[in-house]
Assembly symmetry: C2
Homo-oligomer: 112 residues x 2
């Protein structure tokens, strides 16, 4: 049985969280999990192939944004809302609210 690394709450770093959430695809993933609750990787309708999705899920997990629970062949993703809220109060909410208010395109952060 595999054991997935998750950083301790106190090892979650602001710059890593901001970096993880600065990618439009990852922002979309996180927004969907917040909207729908726990979901597997495959449940999230994201315009990348599954190996890329796996990469993003890992990036978010290692940054401390997501918790990943193994259930059969699936990886169930949840937001680490409580850990993030206690470490960075208001941060996640303001980011996700900003995301929902302004329709960010899912292309690239160097768009124009």
């Amino acid at each position: 049985m595999k054991n997935l690394f998750h950083p301790d709450k106190d090892d979650i770093h602001l710059s890593s969280v901001l970096y993880a959430l600065s990618d439009p695809v990852r922002l979309f993933i996180v927004s969907e999990i917040r909207r729908l609750g726990e979901r597997s990787c495959g449940d999230i309708d994201v315009p990348v192939v599954k190996s890329t999705m796996s990469h993003h899920a890992r990036t978010l997990r290692e940054a401390g944004v997501l918790n990943v629970r193994i259930q059969g062949t699936q990886r169930m993703l949840t937001l680490r809302e409580d850990d993030l809220e206690s470490r960075f109060p208001g941060l996640l909410l303001s980011i996700l609210d900003a995301y929902d208010r302004n329709g960010e395109p899912i292309s690239s952060h160097t768009s124009e």
Copy 2:
């Protein structure tokens, strides 16, 4: 007289702002400007050479985080607090508060 590009308020993108603030050096720069008010590039005691500082100032300006005003040979930097607050309510404050609460290290591979 040179004219520096600043994105319109409505062209400031969440992912770009998060990316700009995901670098520890840039977080420090922004935190210092918030703490001290308007400052020139050279006023900020940051552990990088001036060409690198120039690069970071440009990244923050182009992301919409900083306003840069030319005064003589200096570039005076201010936070675009109002624009950011109206577009992403609470975001900047929660980031800077999180930064101040948890001392994020500036991990740089050079000393100066």
